[in-house]
C-alpha cells in the first residue's frame, strides 16, 4: 500500500509543477465556459417550452464541466506513450512490481493533479461572476462528492485500460484517437444528457460514461433521486471492476508473452 501511495504522490508532485500550463489553461477554459454558457442561454431564450434542466442549472452544469474537465479520461499517459514509441516499454513491462497497480496510481495522479489546479480558480470566478450556484444542501453536496469519487475511480480504470491497449495492441493508437471524443460526448460534457433526444438516452444509460459527468453533476444540482443514486453507484462500480479486470488480464498476458519471447 505504501508503495502505491509513493507512486501516487511522486507523480502528483511532478504534475503540480506544470503551474504555468495550468495558469494558461485557466484563461482558455474561462473563455470556453463563457462561449458555451452564452450559446446555451441563447438556445433557452429561443423556446418557452419546459426543459429537463432549467436555464439556471445549465449554467452551473457547464461551469462544473469546464472546471472538472481533467477528470475525464480524455488523454493517455504521455510518458507511457513515449515509452511505446521509443521501445523502452519492454523495460517497464518486465519490472518486478504490480504494474497495473503502478499505472493505475499514475492515472490517478494524472486525472487529479492538473484538474485541482485549474478547478479552484475557475469555480471561484464562475461562482462570483457567472451565476454558478453551490449545492442546495448538505445531502446534494455529499451525493455529489460520492458520485465524483466513483467517477474518478472509473475514469482511472478506463484510462489505465486505454494505456494498456496502447502498449499491448497495434491498434492502440486508433483507440486513443476515437475514444476521447466518444467519451466526451457520451459523458454529458458536450451536452447535458437530459437534453439529448429521448431515443438516445437508454443507450447512453447502459454505457459507463454517463457516470463520469452527468450523474455527479445531477447529484450536485439535486436532480438525482436516491434510488437512482444507489443504482448509479452500483453502475460505476460494475464498470470499474470490468475495466480493471480487463486491464489486468491484458497486461499479464502481454508480460507473460514478453518473458517467453525473451523481451
Amino acid at each position: 500500500m505504501k508503495s502505491y501511495l509513493a507512486i501516487l504522490s511522486a507523480r502528483f508532485r511532478v504534475l503540480l509543477q506544470y503551474r504555468m500550463a495550468a495558469a494558461a489553461g485557466f484563461g482558455t477554459q474561462l473563455f470556453w465556459g463563457l462561449i458555451r454558457m452564452m450559446i446555451f442561454q441563447a438556445f433557452y431564450d429561443s423556446s418557452s417550452a419546459a426543459q429537463p434542466i432549467s436555464r439556471a442549472d445549465v449554467v452551473t452544469y457547464i461551469w462544473l464541466g469546464q472546471a472538472l474537465l481533467g477528470f475525464l479520461p480524455w488523454n493517455l499517459d504521455s510518458d507511457i506513450r513515449a515509452m511505446v514509441r521509443n521501445g523502452t516499454v519492454a523495460y517497464e513491462l518486465l519490472r518486478p512490481v504490480d504494474l497495473y497497480g503502478a499505472w493505475y496510481m499514475r492515472a490517478l495522479a494524472q486525472r487529479t493533479a492538473p484538474t485541482i489546479l485549474r478547478a479552484i480558480p475557475l469555480l471561484l470566478v464562475a461562482g462570483l461572476f457567472f451565476g454558478m450556484r453551490p449545492p442546495a444542501n448538505a445531502h446534494d453536496l455529499v451525493c455529489w462528492i460520492v458520485t465524483t469519487l466513483g467517477a474518478i475511480a472509473f475514469s482511472c480504470a478506463f484510462t489505465t485500460l486505454m494505456n494498456v491497449t496502447l502498449v499491448v495492441t497495434v491498434s492502440g493508437e486508433g483507440v486513443a484517437r476515437f475514444m476521447p471524443p466518444l467519451v466526451y460526448t457520451l459523458s454529458g460534457m458536450l451536452i447535458p444528457i437530459s437534453l439529448l433526444p429521448a431515443w438516445l438516452i437508454p443507450i447512453v444509460n447502459i454505457l459507463p460514461f454517463r457516470a463520469l459527468v452527468d450523474t455527479p453533476f445531477r447529484a450536485y444540482l439535486g436532480q438525482l433521486p436516491d434510488r437512482e443514486f444507489a443504482f448509479a453507484l452500483a453502475h460505476q462500480l460494475v464498470w470499474t471492476i470490468v475495466c480493471v479486470i480487463a486491464g489486468r488480464a491484458m497486461l499479464t498476458r502481454s508480460v507473460r508473452r514478453m518473458v517467453i519471447q525473451g523481451g
Binding site: A21, A24, G27, L34, P181, T185, L195
Partner: protein
C-alpha cells in the same frame, strides 16, 4: 514574386512528401478529427431538435456559419501550421538557419510545415454542403462571390491569428495557450451568428478580431435579415476585406518581431 511563390509550393510539396511516408497515422488522425467534429455538430443538431431555433436562426443557417467558419479555419490550420508550431523553432534555435538563407522569413516559416490532416476540412465541407442544399437562398453570381469572399476573408483572419501567435514567441517562450483559446475559441464563436452573444463579447469579435466581418455581417446580405441591412449593402459586401487587413497587420507585427529577435538574440 513568381519565384517566391514557386519556392513556397516546392517547400509545401516537400512537406507533403515527407508526411506521405507516415500515411497510416495520417489517415487515422484525419478520421479521428472528422469523428470528433461530427459529434460536435450532432450535439448542435440535438439542441436544435429540442429548442427549435436559436434566437430566430434555423439549423440550416447555423450550418452555413458553421461551414464557412470551420472551413476557413480548417484551411488556415492546414496551410498555417508553420506559424502554429513556430515556437518549437525558437526553442530549438533552428530559426537562425532561416535567417542565414537569402529569403524572407515569412516564406520560409509558411513553407516549413503543412498539416495533412483533412478531417476538419472534410467535416465542415459536409456540413456546408448540407446547409447550402437546405437553405432557401436564390443563388446568383453576386451571392456566390460574397460567399467566396467570406471564405477567403476567414482564411486570412485565422492565418493572421497564427502569425500573431508565432510573433509572440519572439517575446516569450512560455506557450501562450490564450492564443489557442482565441483561435479555437474564435472558431467556436464564429460558428454561430454574433447576435446570440452578449454585446461586449460581440464588440471584441467585431473590432479587435474582425470575425464578424468575415462571416456574420456579409451573411446578413445572403439571408436578408433585418438586423444587419441597416449598414448598407456596399459596406457589408466588402467587409471580408477586414480579414485581409488583419492578416496584413499581423505580418507587419511579425517583421517587427524578427527585428527584435535579431537585436536581442535568442
Amino acid at each position: 514574386m513568381q519565384d517566391t511563390l514557386a519556392l513556397y509550393f516546392r517547400l509545401v510539396s516537400v512537406c507533403l512528401r515527407s508526411k506521405m511516408q507516415y500515411r497510416a497515422s495520417f489517415v487515422l488522425l484525419s478520421a479521428g478529427q472528422f469523428f470528433s467534429l461530427a459529434l460536435e455538430f450532432l450535439a448542435i443538431w440535438a439542441l436544435f431538435a429540442r429548442f427549435g431555433s436559436l434566437k430566430g436562426w434555423s439549423l440550416a443557417e447555423i450550418g452555413l456559419f458553421y461551414g464557412v467558419t470551420h472551413g476557413s479555419f480548417a484551411v488556415a490550420e492546414v496551410i498555417g501550421r508553420g506559424f502554429d508550431t513556430f515556437s518549437d523553432m525558437i526553442k530549438s534555435g533552428d530559426f537562425d538557419r532561416f535567417l542565414l538563407r537569402p529569403r524572407g522569413t515569412v516564406l520560409q516559416v509558411a513553407g516549413r510545415e503543412f498539416d495533412g490532416r483533412l478531417g476538419r476540412l472534410a467535416q465542415s465541407a459536409v456540413v456546408f454542403a448540407w446547409a447550402i442544399k437546405s437553405l432557401p437562398i436564390a443563388w446568383d453570381a453576386g451571392k456566390v462571390a460574397l460567399l467566396g469572399a467570406m471564405f477567403i476573408g476567414g482564411v486570412c483572419l485565422f492565418y493572421g491569428l497564427f502569425v500573431l501567435q508565432a510573433t509572440m514567441s519572439f517575446w516569450t517562450i512560455e506557450t501562450l495557450e490564450i492564443m489557442n483559446a482565441v483561435t479555437y475559441g474564435g472558431t467556436e464563436t464564429g460558428q454561430y451568428p454574433l447576435t446570440i452573444y452578449k454585446p461586449w463579447f460581440r464588440s471584441i469579435f467585431t473590432f479587435v478580431i474582425p470575425l464578424a466581418c468575415v462571416n456574420y455581417l456579409p451573411a446578413g446580405l445572403l439571408f436578408g435579415h433585418s438586423a444587419v441591412s441597416s449598414m448598407g449593402t456596399a459596406l457589408l459586401a466588402i467587409s471580408p476585406v477586414a480579414g485581409l487587413l488583419f492578416l496584413g497587420l499581423s505580418l507587419l507585427s511579425w517583421q517587427y518581431g524578427v527585428k527584435r529577435y535579431c537585436s536581442t538574440g535568442s
